[in-house]
Symmetry: D2
Subunit: 503 residues, 4 copies
């Protein structure tokens, strides 16, 4: 008799049934280790599927009740541990039930589903959890940036382009731009969330079953917002776009986080020294005792590289004809879980690190004009006060900068005579700007104050943006709270449905 002894049940893939030989143990171990993270989601699906089967009359109520009671017993022993012990990965529920209740009971509950919807439900559920955690982290970081910005509307520093001093900006202006970027990340991640929180349950392996399950009900019990309308589309083995969108939105977000990590490291160098980073994010060297290495943000940068690699691995692993790459995707998925967890970690680090930065405000401000970052407004003064064409004014000040560079002079050394010299060189007419006009034009504080245009760095405009971005963050916090509410509600519904059956 090929039927196994129930108490030692090892699953449906044993020698002598369909195949003659046992599987390489190594392959089984791989499967076990990579499905471990999915076990809680599989457990929930096991419960919801059983409830639905009973409600639809596809499973006798007493059989369903026995199964559900046993699954509750499993919970009390620890879902992941017990399931990992009985083996079977996605099918660990069946292993457990057959061992406890025998094949005649435990062998009945897998009807009308397959490994296909099991893995799809589990992966979607895990993606859901990860994306939700990222959404929460995003909102927290947006809040942090907005709050900090209000404190730094007059913290002036040079802007940079091509690595060179561009025009002055403020820390508020810069951090508000980060918040604006994170608002788009919220949209992207939330968009992806909406697309993955759709139920594949009951799609079995691409065509569903002739045991006519109620897919709407299972979806409701598992907290999915919708049901995949086509069973082939539902199964990740077929349409993999979601499996690529999730790593892609995280990778895009990580690109920004890494950039900002790079900024903080740069600001903390001896050369820039705009900030001091809290010691807890730093280590030192075993021989260079002076070192204060800013490693927290460096971790963020490394994690970003892994996020990129994850997307590439997923893209490559999933290449092939429809339904061909299945095992392959796990090589990308295991990385994805790690990348997503790192992302939540790093969003949290920014929330802790940014407010703890010691800002060297005086030094920043000095730098904001010392290398001619305010030169644009000197040209502007020639336009507004002397009615020069912009390009003429621009060229004159360009010559002025070159003359100063050649003579070792700084912006503080510019005199009307020097400006006239440059102007004469350009078009044989003096510039005729007063010393006061020159000084005012080159002052970084005046520079910032004058930029009251929409989107500009003038303090009041920064406060307007802070208010606006806060409102948007509040709206997005509401979105997350609503999701949390719906998920909690579906969990209660599931347990109540179980109670009703086993009562």
């Amino acid at each position: 008799m090929l039927k196994q002894t129930s108490s030692e049940y090892r699953g449906y893939r044993t020698a002598g049934i369909r195949l003659r030989d046992e599987m390489l143990p190594q392959l089984g171990q791989l499967y076990g280790s990579r499905t471990r993270a999915m076990l809680p989601a599989v457990h929930a699906f096991d419960k919801a599927h059983t409830v639905m089967l009973v409600e639809e009359g596809l499973l006798p109520r007493d059989v369903g009740a026995a199964i559900l009671r046993q699954l509750r017993a499993l919970e009390s022993e620890g879902v992941v541990e017990v399931r990992a012990k009985v083996g079977g990965g996605l099918h660990s529920g069946e292993h457990y039930l057959i061992r406890k209740l025998g094949e005649d009971i435990g062998g009945r509950f897998h009807i009308a589903r397959s490994s296909g919807d099991l893995s799809s439900v589990a992966i979607n559920t895990l993606q859901r959890e990860k994306l939700l955690a990222v959404l929460r982290g995003l909102n927290r970081m947006r809040r942090t940036l907005i709050d900090l910005s209000r404190l730094h509307t007059d913290t002036i520093l040079p802007g940079y382009s091509f690595g060179q001093h561009a025009q002055p900006m403020t820390l508020a202006h810069l951090w508000l731009s980060w918040a604006a970027s994170l608002a788009r990340d919220f949209e992207r991640v939330h968009g992806a969330y909406g697309r993955i929180n759709t139920s594949p349950a009951g799609a079995a392996i691409m065509v569903g079953s002739n045991f006519l399950v109620n897919r709407t009900r299972t979806a409701e019990l598992l907290g999915f917002d919708a049901v995949h309308e086509n069973c082939a589309d539902a199964i990740l083995e077929l349409n993999a776009d979601d499996s690529l969108e999730v790593p892609s939105v995280i990778a895009v977000l990580y690109h920004s986080l890494a950039k900002w990590g790079d900024d903080i490291i740069q600001w903390s160098t001896s050369e820039y020294h705009f900030v001091d980073v809290p010691d807890r994010y730093c280590n030192t060297s075993s021989i260079m005792m002076q070192k204060k290495n800013v490693i927290g943000p460096a971790e963020v940068k490394g994690a970003s590289a892994e996020a990129l690699g994850c997307f590439v691995s997923a893209y490559h692993a999933l290449k092939g004809t429809t339904g061909l790459p299945i095992t392959e995707r796990y090589y990308a998925l295991e990385t994805l879980w790690r990348v997503a967890d790192n992302c939540v970690r790093d969003l949290g680090w920014f929330c802790d690190l940014l407010p703890a930065l010691i800002i060297r405000k005086e030094h920043m401000r000095e730098q904001a004009w010392l290398h001619w970052a305010t030169g644009t407004d000197l040209a502007g003064a020639l336009v507004s006060k002397r009615n020069l064409p912009w390009r003429t004014a621009h060229q004159i000040v360009g010559i002025l900068v070159r003359l100063c560079e050649e003579r070792g002079l700084t912006p503080a050394d510019v005199t009307p005579a020097l400006l006239d010299e440059a102007s004469m060189l350009y078009h044989e007419q003096p510039a005729s700007l007063s010393q006061a006009d020159i000084r005012e034009a080159l002052d970084p504080g005046a520079f910032i104050a004058a930029r009251t245009l929409r989107g500009g760095p003038a303090p009041a405009e920064s406060m307007r943006q802070a208010d606006l971005f806060l409102q948007r963050t509040l709206d997005d916090e509401k979105i997350v709270a609503d999701i949390d509410g719906r998920l909690a509600e579906s969990a209660r519904t599931l347990e109540a449905a179980i109670d009703a059956i086993i009562a």
Copy 2:
């Protein structure tokens, strides 16, 4: 005098102004060639910026009118050709105007903007055009799939997983799953569209200008749906998330297109021979005259590889501190334009190719049960007719398949006795299913017909999905039509505003 002769104006970066030496000609050529695709967008910005300057009193009306008249003259000569000839890339408008009107006029219109918003406006506009074309292509392909699906609800073929026959499905079911996937692509691309169609105009280089431009007006004249609320965020040099989202959504879409290209190639092999591909997508060999190589879909697959490379290049090129990587991004952008154009090409090819496929319906259907794809329903019959647990039934049929394999039998050869033999081997009880039950259970037509569940392949259910997906496509076509309308309206507004000034 360092001022150039207007008629030979070569731009603001010449030897003797800020820098002593001329730039390497090679660097100028690179800049010229990579900004060429941006010239039409730059031209529109030149016009809108001038209109806004005049309206806001930042440029005398007569100066503005002279400039706008000249820009219209330029149009009649050919925007790209003339601008490429005068040189200057993003600043070709200034080159042209100074050459034609002298620096005293032509040198005035660059006020209050910079290369930063010029390139950002141009890149956003190009991305807008590319994404719009992709959206149109997506809708056409969805229509094509939905229309074809209605014709193939009874075209049965094996489903595949792991490359092996899974359960039967229909071509309608499969193609509807493609349409479902493309609907998500529409959402993704449209999401990206919404994020990039926001105006950076007036943000200059991260902080705007103290010449207080009306950014809302410029945005309106250029057809942007919104204004970047923070000038640092507006400039692509800073926040690059959009520059990554655009290639990422195209890459994700391309992954599906490549998979379907792979499917078509596989279906056309001697081994599968499910379809004949129209000759126009095929070549042959210079020595193997029998060859009919399906190269159209292979192009799609190759283009997908470039789409992946494009995202990776962009991600890597843009790495670095805020504002550092600027020149670098062009290496990814030039590939992006090509990838986007290929994507539109390939969506079009599918619309032409799919209806022209010759479907070998009989052969497909025969394959759909010949290798046991319907075996699941034989186990199902043991459950429904003999009340066996699913797992018991599954194992019995598994043994049956092995026995048949060992004895060279096919599904058509299964008898009640053979099934009993398998059942006895499993649990020492016969299966006791009649020949008619066995035959019915294994019939692929019956298999499909029975799957009437939501999302299943039963013909009526496929028709329901087709109706639903068509409605969604119609909604999305409406979205694109509205966009087209808004863009046309803004173009008219711009020309009318010019008319008003030059009148």
Copy 3:
């Protein structure tokens, strides 16, 4: 007193020395977990460095002896376990020694090196081990292929290009081509081995030390073949080319392995059915009991995707100015160790799997002419027997194939009349080939037998290649044996030097 109690020594980065606060525990845990794999290599370096210090008089002999005795004691307790327990990662030796011997002894042995050469030595050593294992796996697989090829010089199957039947080949011919490719992989991996087996020891952190160590001696004791001639070049933080070459050569190798995995999966489909894969590499389905999913080769394909992702992550993580990305690289390294181990696993699987494949020789041979794969030689016969130009002959047979396709005829149905018909259509002259000539030209056995050219698939030529490739494999096995010998010798030298000091 800030000096720590030796017995609880926690390392040099504690609050109150250089930095005021303790480091985030999370950062310390990351460091501990990612240096764990390096501990055996660090241990060897600790021993070799101490020996060299004593020999050079940089450490008193009694101090050195005490340290070396303690390091041997550590070994008896388990290098990885004890070091992981005392913490400190690369500096776990110092932790352990200070705890056991006090700072006055244990604090002396880190002189003249730094974390820089510690990590570089450890990473190079790990890379060395991984690459050596890959080299061994490559040689075993080459042997396997060559041995198998000798058995399959008359196992004829269709060649494929564009997925379509090209010309016939033999399994020997194909597998010999795999062996030829693996020979290049050996060269590449061996080239990389040569470049990484160079000693950074003593380079400290880019400039070495003013305690004048004997770098040649340390290199010898650690089994390195050479010494980095420039200390800046020696440190991986600076020149990262080796850190990219190692993942790149593994990724390139993996591309081939994945391709061959894909081949085996394809050959095992119902459509091709060229081989049966041993059951131990297969699983089945929880509802589709007929499934025999070939998952072993699918694992290879997935691992290849991770190999690609690993290279991309490394490339991206290491981007930045010289010396900037250090922490970042660990995100790629942890993946690299896994990828390399998978590679060894997968080379081993091929050695086990290929000889166990059941080859369906008859079916393969039938396919090798059924879809016109031998058509080329029919054109060839027109050239050699009728003196037609190749192109003329090629077009005539092209027409013939089309006619047969239109009329449902196979190659077996070709008659002289049919060929004449095609010939007449082409150039109004008959082909005038006899039935025997036609039959002979289309026979796959004759096709193979005639290809005796260098590199061709004729059996004797395959045997020549097998002999040649075996000789090359023997040469490469000698290379690996020599490496093994040198490494064993250096390990003995190190222990003997320790014996001499502690004696």
Copy 4:
């Protein structure tokens, strides 16, 4: 009659032969544009193949002579232009010959080869040219670096790790490390060269032909160093490892070039200001006239991103079963040619740019101790003069640095008393170092001078490395010269063989 009029010959793939319909014109255009770069190599193969056919008696001498004369005539008209005009891509030779000589002559020379060896020969030849140019560029840059290093053995600057000041080094030391890295690049690129300069000619499409060509002779005439011993291995459609190795070695090289580009940009910032970059590599801004943007090195960085994308595209494009991806690879190849050309461009730029950098030596040296980069040697002095354990000395100086930081003191302010204070805090014992000892220990000049160890930055040791690295460069220049000699010789042999036939 389906035979075409010779004078308008359009190739073998026309409607009515094997296939009923013409191919999409778009597909033909793609093929034409992507084979254009291959035409010179194809032309050489056409000549060599014809010579070999005649020599082996596979083509009548008079036919061969007519063909060779015509191919020489083609040369006088311009190989690329004429071939592009007659169309046919790889088969443009046949098009041209049939048009000129009729099918009876021109239709004879394609015997015993196929598109497979045509494309493989052409791609290998192009790769050969590109790799050779890279090898030359590498040697030039190594020379440049070695020569410059000799001038900068006493140009002291801080080393960096984690972006923070590490220990001082010299520019000579750093640039010699670059040269050391490029020497490995030479090995890698040369290794790849050796593997691709192997002849596929005569392998046709994986199995060669039954017209028994002399593959050795063709290889000799085309300058290949060896013949692929297995015809399946010879054809790039099958074994793609070479197609991945070539982009991988260029990508690895580009990683270094980009890093050094980043260094130069950083050194040129206002914050570092170690160098002034020649103006010809810089542009300025249209509104920020002070800007001197270092764009040449930024191009290098961008090109590196494309090199990475190229490898990823190639890896992905070539995925699939043996012989499946063929068309696909062109998407990676077109990028490869561009990447390789950029690489040669950028190696050249470094050779021009580096000697033209203005080195701000005084400033560099001041930075080399101002932020405690020499602190290690103060700890070293405590070890050598006070016999403290290294770790004890390290911690004391760590405390010293912290105290100075807290009190706003610099290394120049360190007194024996201050050091004693730190020492007392650590272990309640004074350090007792004299002011002179402290000053000497912290001096960057003394720091460098003391590092005479092998690989160290002491001037004499740098000169030793320069001599050694120059010798290695000379050896590698010899390798390139030998290759050039062999290629020139084979070209002469080919022309002489043609002369002999047409004489």
